[in-house]
């Protein structure tokens, strides 16, 4: 049996009991692994420890306790700190970190030069990469002569040039507008598909994290709050903080009764709705839980359809048209509620009926 199966590849990154920071720790007892070829999103507010974790993986800070393994090799641990330049890492920085005294082509050639290539070979390699990324015409410019989006694409080209085994992205789109952000994300996805290296992508933007990652690690105050695929993090957040970090959410307060396996009945004024619900505790423990409703888990009654069964009461206070969808802010007897429906506005502020599709129940913190 053992002879027929190849041993599994070691994780691209593995953190075991990782603590960083002296005094008030920036990371405390973190356990985390990234499989080969996997993209892990680090999602958290500023100060949650995202950048600290990236800096620890890159070898810029020594851990206080615990270990970091890169491709099965101990990189940081007690008495051992492999220097950053020997970790085969490509890093993309929030502020681009382009050297103001080097031209674009010299910047991209830099990792090749450090890997031992001759000046001409490094320049040839750099120009190839720039051509692939349609940056060829900018080769002779200095960072000061580039727009933000161009700078970050050069930063990405520099990370690629080192042919790393692992990419670290430190909020690379934080300073870019929506269009440029999409452009950079496309570029990242294409690259990743092409060379199959693993990546850790730090961001505070839930949409970005859910869209780009195979799994999402939600960090809160230096601790891992949840680690799961994007759909699970969105549908079944581990606690209220995770729920708020991973997308818009309304928290309702209303009487609730169990109604069969994985179903609960919600009482809103005189009306009631029985819907599927996920919960992390047993039904017996759900006395006065927080009732979480994502904006797409509820919908407005269709006034044109007399057969619409929506019967929960509420009042629309605000309507916000957002292009592909419309946000309706409601006050209901169970509390304020956000409903997101596709298409342009089809209801005006005033009394309305709405229906519920599903729920997430969490203990109140």
């Amino acid at each position: 049996m053992a002879a027929t199966t190849t041993p599994p590849l070691p994780d691209a990154v593995a953190c075991a009991g990782l603590s960083v920071g002296y005094g008030r720790p920036a990371l405390a007892g973190l356990n985390l692994a990234v499989a080969p070829g996997e993209t892990l999103a680090l999602l958290g507010a500023s100060g949650s420890g995202k950048t600290t974790l990236l800096n620890a993986i890159a070898g810029f800070v020594a851990p206080l306790a615990g270990q970091i393994w890169l491709a099965g090799q101990l990189a940081s641990g007690p008495g051992r700190l492999v220097p950053p330049e020997r970790r085969r890492i490509g890093m993309v920085f929030q502020d681009y970190a382009l050297w103001p005294h080097l031209s674009v082509v010299d910047t991209v050639a830099y990792p090749l030069r450090r890997a031992g290539a001759s000046k001409t070979a490094a320049h040839r390699g750099a120009r190839d990469i720039l051509e692939q990324m349609s940056l060829g015409p900018l080769a002779e410019r200095r960072p000061g002569q580039l727009s933000g989006g161009e700078q970050q694409r050069v930063g990405l080209a520099r990370a690629l040039a080192g042919a790393p085994a692992l990419y670290l992205f430190d909020e690379p789109t934080a300073h870019l507008d929506a269009t440029l952000r999409a452009q950079i994300l496309d570029e990242v996805a294409r690259r990743r598909a092409a060379d199959g290296a693993a990546a850790v992508y730090a961001t505070h933007d839930a949409t970005e994290a859910l869209a780009i990652a195979d799994r999402v690690a939600v960090l809160h105050s230096g601790r891992l709050a949840q680690l799961a695929p994007p759909a699970d993090v969105y549908a079944a957040p581990a606690d209220l903080t995770v729920a708020r970090l991973t997308g818009p959410v309304s928290v309702l307060t209303a009487p609730l009764t169990p109604a069969g396996p994985h179903h609960y009945t919600l009482h809103v004024a005189e009306a009631r709705a029985t819907v599927p619900a996920t919960t992390i505790t047993s039904p017996a423990d759900t006395t006065d839980p927080a009732i979480l409703v994502r904006p797409d888990w509820a919908c407005l009654a269709d006034p044109a359809d007399p057969a619409d069964s929506a019967d929960l009461p509420g009042t629309i206070t605000e309507v916000r048209f957002r292009g592909p969808h419309t946000d309706y802010h409601l006050t209901t007897p169970a509390g304020p509620l956000l409903i997101r429906d596709p298409g342009p506005p089809r209801a005006a502020p005033g009394p309305v009926r709405w229906s519920l599709l599903r729920l997430r129940l969490l203990p109140r913190a």
Binding site: V20, G21, Y22, G23, A26, T51, T52, N55, A58, G59, F60, V61, A62, L64, P83, P84, E85, R87, I89, G90, M91, F93, Q94, D95, Y96, A97, L98, W99, P100, H101, Y110, P111, R114, A115, G144, G155, R158, A159, A161, G162, L168
Partner: protein, 546 residues
């Protein structure tokens, strides 16, 4: 409105004429009196040639030592967590508050023959009287300039992320230093090198204390001794030529740099949050040990020696409590010294009030295309070596003002104008144009808007400038020794004359009186700053009057 602008322009032009143009023109006129052959003869006279060579060699050596050591220290200290940077910064910049003459004298007492170190260990510093000693003491003043320039450069240009990017791209620590950090610091380093060179070339007090006894003269000391000892017209022409040559030397060091810097684009600084604090490492402790050792040798031991010398009854006696006395203070302050002290304080106070006012005037009135050139002219007056400026002022105004303290005040204003001008200009540049517009739209008339929105930020700049000018003027020696007459000696001049007469104990006592107030105020400020947390602004330009 137009008339007001014209009057203001006239005022600025008159100030520049009085403080910069007339002294320089006077120098040039006398120097060129005998035509080109006269200039050639003056420059090739054996004394002058040797003095020029000495000046260039000393200034070059000081520049190399100070910039190398200052850069190394700054790179070692400034990468550490913010809370552990304040103390090394204070230790390194500390000597700047000691007048050059005092530190030079203190070194001679500490490390010279019959000095404290010989008393305790039997060792003296070889070559203390001569070029080696001059270079060592001037390096103590040059090093903080390089250190501060690198610190400011690191803060303004070298985002830690830039170095991290290099490390992640496969560069080792040394390669990162060579390919990223030092290239980024090239401009501040060149600026620091030019500043250190100019300061060292213009220095008078240190070569006077440590060079003259060994017969080692520089351009500044030669100008002084020529002026003091010989009165012949030929010698006077020679010394004006020498002064002008010193000016040319300074311009050669500063000019190309200024032109080149003006063409460089400015880089805005992105902020990278600092790394989380880590435990103190062995390297940290080694760096602190080096900084402490440096501060002790450079200023700690010499100043301690100065205190002991001032307290000891006579030269050659052991500095033990049995031999202690306050007689040096009373005998030193006898006669004219106390009056000179009051006169110095008065002159410094006048300069401290007038320089910021004149600086703010030029900064406020000079707008548009006159801004740059005016700033250059004001800076030029500072860069002029004190000896040359003083000779120019004697020639220009000696006829009317000879023997009056006014001539000394004029020199102080010309020299220290820049310290009133720069902070005012910087404060004005920092004001977004929207501020006055917002004030106007909120109902303020132009005058009210200026008073309520523009002036408040200027007052902080003006107060800082006033304090700085007071210290520099109070300590000033180079120009005062050339310009003073009977009844207008400044305190620093009295101390130097006391040292000339050989009164070691009295010199030490007076040197302490000159130094102590400023040191105490500086230490108090530093202590308060430390208690209230590190200041957000890094001192970028702490000068040292040559």
């Amino acid at each position: 409105m137009r008339a007001a602008v014209a009057a203001a322009a006239l005022l600025v032009a008159a100030l520049i004429a009085v403080l910069v143009v007339v002294p320089l023109e006077s120098l040039a006129r006398i120097a060129a009196a005998d035509g080109l052959t006269g200039i050639g003869r003056a420059l090739t006279a054996p004394g002058s040639r040797v003095a020029i060579e000495h000046t260039v060699a000393v200034a070059a050596a000081v520049t190399v030592c100070a910039v190398t050591a200052g850069t190394a220290l700054a790179l070692a200290v400034e990468r550490r967590p913010a809370r552990s940077r304040m103390l090394p910064r204070l230790l390194i910049a500390g000597p700047l508050v000691i007048p050059e003459f005092v530190l030079g004298f203190a070194w001679s007492q500490a490390y010279g023959p019959a000095g404290l170190s010989e008393h305790l260990t039997g060792l003296t510093m070889p070559g203390l009287f001569g070029p080696a000693g001059i270079i060592a003491v001037l390096t103590v003043y040059g090093l903080p300039l390089a250190y501060l320039a690198v610190t400011a450069g690191l803060a303004a240009r070298a985002d830690p992320a830039l170095e991290r990017a290099a490390r992640a791209a496969g560069a080792s620590g040394w390669t990162t230093l060579r390919t990223v950090t030092l290239p980024l610091l090239r401009i501040p380093l060149l600026g620091a090198a030019a500043l250190v060179f100019v300061t060292a070339a213009g220095s008078f007090a240190v070569p006077q204390v440590l060079g003259t006894p060994a017969g080692f003269g520089t351009m500044s000391t030669l100008i002084y001794s020529d002026l003091a000892l010989s009165a012949g017209p030929a010698a006077f022409t020679e010394l004006t030529v020498l002064a002008l040559a010193l000016v040319v030397l300074v311009l050669l060091a500063l000019g190309p740099l200024d032109l080149w810097l003006a063409r460089l684009p400015r880089a805005a600084r992105p902020q990278t949050p600092p790394a989380p604090p880590t435990q103190r490492t062995r390297t940290d402790r080694a760096v602190m040990a080096i900084v402490w050792a440096y501060a002790l040798v450079a200023a700690g031991i010499p100043m301690l020696t100065l205190i002991l010398t001032a307290l000891t009854r006579g030269p050659g006696l052991a500095p033990v409590p049995a031999n202690w006395t306050l007689a040096n203070f009373s005998s030193g302050l006898d006669g004219g010294a106390a009056i000179a002290l009051a006169r110095s304080a008065g002159l410094a106070l006048a300069a401290a009030v007038l320089a910021p006012a004149l600086g703010a005037l030029v900064a406020g009135l000079a707008r548009g295309r006159w801004r740059g050139p005016l700033a250059t002219v004001v800076t030029l007056a500072y860069a002029l070596p004190g000896s040359a400026l003083a000779v120019g002022i004697i020639i220009g105004y000696g006829r009317w003002l000879d023997g009056s303290a006014l001539i000394i005040l004029t020199a102080y204003l010309a020299k220290f104008w820049v310290f009133g001008h720069r902070p005012a200009q910087a404060a004005l540049d920092r004001l977004p144009p929207g501020l006055t517009r917002a004030a106007r739209l909120s109902g303020a008339r132009p005058g009210t808007a200026a008073r309520t929105v523009v002036l408040p930020p200027l007052t902080v700049a003006a107060a800082t400038a006033a304090a700085l000018v007071f210290v520099l003027a109070f300590h000033e020696l180079t120009m005062s020794t050339i310009l003073y007459g009977p009844g207008t000696e400044t305190f620093a001049v009295v101390i130097m004359n006391q040292q000339d007469l050989g009164g070691v104990g009295a010199t030490a006592a007076l040197a302490l009186v000159l130094t102590a107030p400023v040191v105490i105020v500086a230490a108090l400020t530093a202590w308060l700053t430390r208690r209230t947390g590190p200041s957000a602004r890094t001192p970028v330009f702490i000068p040292n009057g040559p």
